[in-house]
């Protein structure tokens, strides 16, 4: 068999180049890994990042995995937060790419754990922001939760996240309702917007989970308390016309509150807070007989204790 020396030499060159490239690539990854192990994540990033998009690395799953891990550690060490925190976003992009490219089973398991950690970090931040809620932070909370949800779905596409989203909506409803209860001075337009946002979030929560007792009860309370607040704003300067108009508005809110309170009561018929809510609502609606009936139920429950 006659071998074409030129073809043979060309093949040798190609194979050698490929081997060298692969070895060189592997050395960059190893160097970054070593730097990471020593805790110098910034240096590790500097070692690997510039070469990551070169042809040698573009299809190297392990390189993207290591880069993702480095970004994740940098996210942790810098204490950055927010839905657009760059290191976290980079970490996710790199890890997802690594998973697409393929890795050995050990790396894959670590990558999944890292993604899971990042996903939870979004969730924790969202909940933390709900806990210390301030007016106007809803978009960021929802963005954080959205990233959590997207990551969770990428890790487990069959997972049903609807109940969690429903819970988040309820928490947001409560957070808004708390602002209404607080004594911080706010314009009436802002208070109206906060109230409507609270009602909207409770509505979303109930769309996701119509049998959510807390969402039903809290929605009723938010509507009712808003009516009471309106009543309390009446003063000696309020005219008869305004008084009638305000009363109409309050009664409208009380009537709207009745339905979710009844729905909550239907779920837990012996729960005292709901019975008290119904007693109070009927009283506010001048429905004495109904109010007294709920009062009697409460007294019966209390008497049996």
């Amino acid at each position: 068999m006659k071998i074409d020396i030129r073809s043979f030499l060309l093949a040798c060159v190609v194979v050698s180049a490929s081997l060298c490239s692969s070895l060189w690539a592997q050395s960059e990854v190893d160097r970054a890994t070593e730097l990471g192990r020593s805790g110098d994540w910034t240096a590790a990033k500097q070692a690997l990042r510039p070469v990551l998009n070169t042809p040698a690395y573009q299809t190297n799953g392990r390189a993207w995995f290591v880069m993702g891990f480095i970004h994740k550690e940098l996210h942790k060490s810098t204490g950055e937060f927010g839905s657009d925190a760059p290191e976290r976003l980079e970490a996710i992009t790199c890890l997802q790419r690594a998973m697409q490219l393929g890795m050995n089973p050990t790396d894959r398991a670590v990558a999944v754990e890292a993604m899971d950690f990042l996903s939870r970090s979004y969730f924790r931040e969202a909940i933390g922001m709900v806990e210390g809620f301030t007016w106007g932070s809803t978009d960021e909370i929802q963005a954080l939760y959205g990233r959590y949800e997207a990551l969770e779905m990428s890790l487990n596409p069959t997972k049903d996240l609807a109940p969690q989203r429903s819970d988040l909506s309820r928490y947001l409803g409560q957070a808004h309702a708390m602002l209404l209860e607080s004594e911080s001075p706010r314009s009436s337009a802002e208070l109206k917007a906060i109230f409507e946002a609270a009602i909207g979030h409770y509505g979303d929560a109930l769309k996701g989970n119509p049998n959510d007792y807390a969402a039903q009860y809290n929605l009723a309370i938010t509507l009712y308390n808003e009516g009471v607040r309106k009543l309390k704003r009446i003063n000696h300067e309020t005219s008869m016309f305004e008084l009638m108009e305000i009363q109409d508005g309050c009664i409208d809110l009380f009537e709207r509150a009745l339905s979710p309170m009844q729905a909550a009561h239907a779920q837990q018929p012996n729960r005292l807070e709901t019975l008290k809510g119904l007693m109070t609502l009927h009283y506010a609606l001048s429905q004495k007989t109904a109010s007294d009936a709920y009062r009697a139920q409460i007294e019966q429950i209390l008497g049996n204790r």
Partner: protein, 226 residues
């Protein structure tokens, strides 16, 4: 007047509970696992979720979040009394008494409804009716009113014969008697609160008011249901 006062002090205008009942309700509330939205509770829930995360438990799940389950707090203000207080102030401010009664303090008496008295005192005690300073008086029963000086407005929630006896006792004086009873006007009240489409409205016996030299203002008349 003594005779009509027997049960007045026992009546409650708002659906409130005794201290004992409240304590039991609080215990019940705890037992049912609900509480008001308190940051400490939220923080505990959050920490629990965090611990679960750290421990690698498959969270955040609903199980972890169930510790966040909260219920809001009902505003226990007496809404009917708030509304009535506003009406009473308007009744005092928009009607006219004979000139000899438009000097000195303007007295508004509430019988047997401490919640309404408290709201009126809180909102209107420092206000004036025309040139008269407004005095809000609260009485446990009708008997206590006998020893009081002249009052321009009396609000009580009695009905039937008991209300009629109060009306008879003040029949010769320009006192605006206001009730909240289905038979209020028939038994001597000049203004009676009624419920119309879940709202608090009022009806007026303007003829009887005129007999007592009380001039009901147009604004009050125009909003009356009859």
């Amino acid at each position: 007047m003594h005779a009509v006062s027997d049960e007045l002090s026992a009546r409650q205008a708002s659906p409130s509970f005794s201290t004992r009942e409240r304590k039991v309700m609080v215990r019940g509330k705890e037992r049912f696992g609900s509480s008001t939205w308190k940051s400490s509770r939220v923080a505990r829930g959050f920490i629990a979720a965090l611990i679960c995360c750290i421990c690698g438990i498959d969270v955040p799940t609903l199980e972890a979040q169930s510790q966040f389950t909260q219920t809001s707090t009902l505003d226990e203000s007496d809404t009917r009394s708030i509304t009535k207080a506003n009406f009473l102030f308007h009744f005092a401010a928009s009607n006219e008494w004979p000139s000899e009664f438009m000097e000195g303090p303007f007295r508004l008496a509430i019988i047997g409804n401490p919640s309404l008295h408290a709201i009126l005192s809180d909102k209107y005690a420092m206000k004036s009716i025309g040139l008269q300073s407004l005095e809000i008086l609260g009485f446990e029963d009708v008997a206590s009113l006998e020893s009081a000086p002249f009052v321009h407005v009396i609000y009580c929630e009695e009905s039937g014969a008991k209300l009629q006896r109060i009306a008879d006792a003040i029949s010769n004086a320009p006192v605006l008697l206001i009730s909240d009873a289905s038979d209020g006007l028939q038994n001597g009240a000049l203004i009676n609160f009624v419920s119309v489409n879940n709202r608090i409205r009022y009806e007026i016996n303007s003829e009887e008011a005129a007999k007592r030299d009380l001039l009901i203002g147009n604004r009050i008349l125009s909003w009356a249901v009859k």
